[in-house]
Symmetry: C2
């Protein structure tokens, strides 16, 4: 309860503790999110994805500075399951927080998990609720767009920005499967490098292959040099333009709600199977029989589902 | 039935068609795997993971050539959700198949999906069953070890090999979260590059931080130059040494059986919810209410689960 009050007031220590709770995926997490959820729904959720080294963090920091200029509070979740497990992520947080150290209107947090990727997606989704309920006007989910799982996380944002750099590798190669489809806004960062126009042209050409209806949003391809701040205002402008497309926003929130609800239902179902005396036993017997080649997993699943009815 | 017979006989066109069926995740897939599963369980399943460009494919091709020398049939599944969706993966198959073109003892296939990563993991798992039932003695799952999801796929193999290169980036940075933990065998490839010994030393130092029981397998760190074939026999030797550790193999197969069974159960549960008249309606109402902030996802999930009992 105390924790709930702390989060609602925007206290950074309470927020940090709340996020740690959802990361550990305890029963406490469900209790907390139940309380906080109805206080959420005001923030705009911005997903930013791109390969390591394209300058995502620099761009996010520049955007955060602009949002602060108009007195918006900003929460940043850096999701990077590829960061080394030596605690590098937390060190990164400290370095980044220093830039905003005198400013409690910006909160930066890395999301990590020792478990499966599904757990990370759930924890991130709950952390968004926490930052939203804590009164942040903008919540940024920054993901390394290298695995499909990370792309799935970015996809649930209100608006998704895909960041790339000129001629990184084979140009088109840098835009991975799935990433083209999730971008509402494309940014070619580091325009001081050679080939920025060509890269932007290639993205436009790829977008040209997709079909957009007359009224649909057509993703702009913007050029930035985040290190100097060049072009950052254009990105900001595109975000607010996209945000006024009410239909897209509603659809996006339905997608997010659905993905979260199904995730909880799947987990709950398996938990109940595992803790149930009879079903738990049936489950471990089935696992053993499958591993020994005595029954195929589809038939075993049918048998377990059959017993439940 | 005809397809089943074709796969069992090892006919490459039948195998290709069977894998396409499990990729599309239809009801046909379940029917097919039910038939094939009991014919599987003989192959050793080798997972090979590493960042793009470390030379995984070259190493796999060298290993395949050695296996062919002792008349083992080899199936290779290349899982790369980061490959561009321009059909590059399939082109890659063709190039790689040419090396073994006169030899129907080697089958190479890229695994791709337009859907979520979970779907790819399931399809890969079913494709392993197909290649196994088709009489391959070794099935290689080659994954790009950049996302946690891909790491999860590699983890279900009988033996997991992690490939890296000297001084790629910040050395330790190249060994991502989770990857250190899944490696049964580590390979530093491209030893003609500077710093191979240092990289091997760093991996050994990181392994030294982990605790191994007296009897447990201690992952070796091997050096290869896959392009010339140097060190490839050591990798082969380590694979067969690991494969004789019966306890590990049984545990690994239990893990794989469990992950597959739970995956099917989760999907089946959600499918039944969705198609059920009442539950389907409850589900879409809940999604709508969550998206409008009227109810939190945990409470909504409890209500839906409650109605099922």
């Amino acid at each position: 309860m105390e924790l709930f009050e702390g989060v609602i007031k925007g206290d950074q220590r309470a927020i940090a503790r709340a996020i740690s709770i959802v990361e550990s995926d305890s029963i406490e997490a469900a209790v907390l999110i139940k309380q906080l959820f109805l206080k959420s729904g005001h923030a705009i959720i911005v997903g930013i994805t791109g390969a390591p080294g394209v300058g995502k963090s620099t761009l996010v920091d520049r955007l955060a500075a602009e949002w602060r200029r108009v007195d918006n509070r900003v929460g940043i979740l850096a999701v990077d399951p590829t960061s080394p497990f030596s605690g590098g992520a937390i060190l990164g947080d400290r370095v980044r927080m220093q830039a905003h150290t005198a400013d409690d209107g910006v909160y930066v947090r890395s999301m990590a998990t020792r478990g499966q990727l599904g757990g990370l997606a759930h924890a991130t989704s709950d952390a968004v609720v926490i930052l939203d309920a804590a009164g942040h006007d903008v919540v940024v989910i920054e993901t390394v767009g290298v695995g499909q799982g990370e792309v799935d996380i970015a996809k649930t944002a209100d608006v998704s920005i895909v960041v790339t750099v000129p001629g990184a590798g084979d140009d088109v190669q840098t835009l991975k499967a799935g990433i083209m489809e999730i971008g509402d806004i494309f940014v070619v960062n580091k325009t001081d490098y050679a080939g920025a126009d060509r890269t932007a042209g290639e993205i436009k050409a790829m977008l040209g292959l997709q079909e957009f209806s007359e009224s649909a949003w057509k993703p702009p391809v913007l050029m930035t040099q985040a290190s100097t701040g060049e072009g950052v205002l254009d990105v900001l402008e595109a975000i607010s333009q996209f945000d006024t497309q009410k239909t897209d926003k509603r659809d996006r929130r339905l997608t997010r709600a659905r993905s979260r609800l199904l995730g909880i239902l799947r987990d709950t179902f398996i938990e109940r199977l595992e803790v149930g005396g009879k079903s738990g036993e049936a489950l471990s017997n089935a696992v053993k029989e499958i591993s020994e080649g005595l029954v195929d997993p589809y038939t075993a699943a049918e048998q377990i589902m059959g017993k439940l009815q």
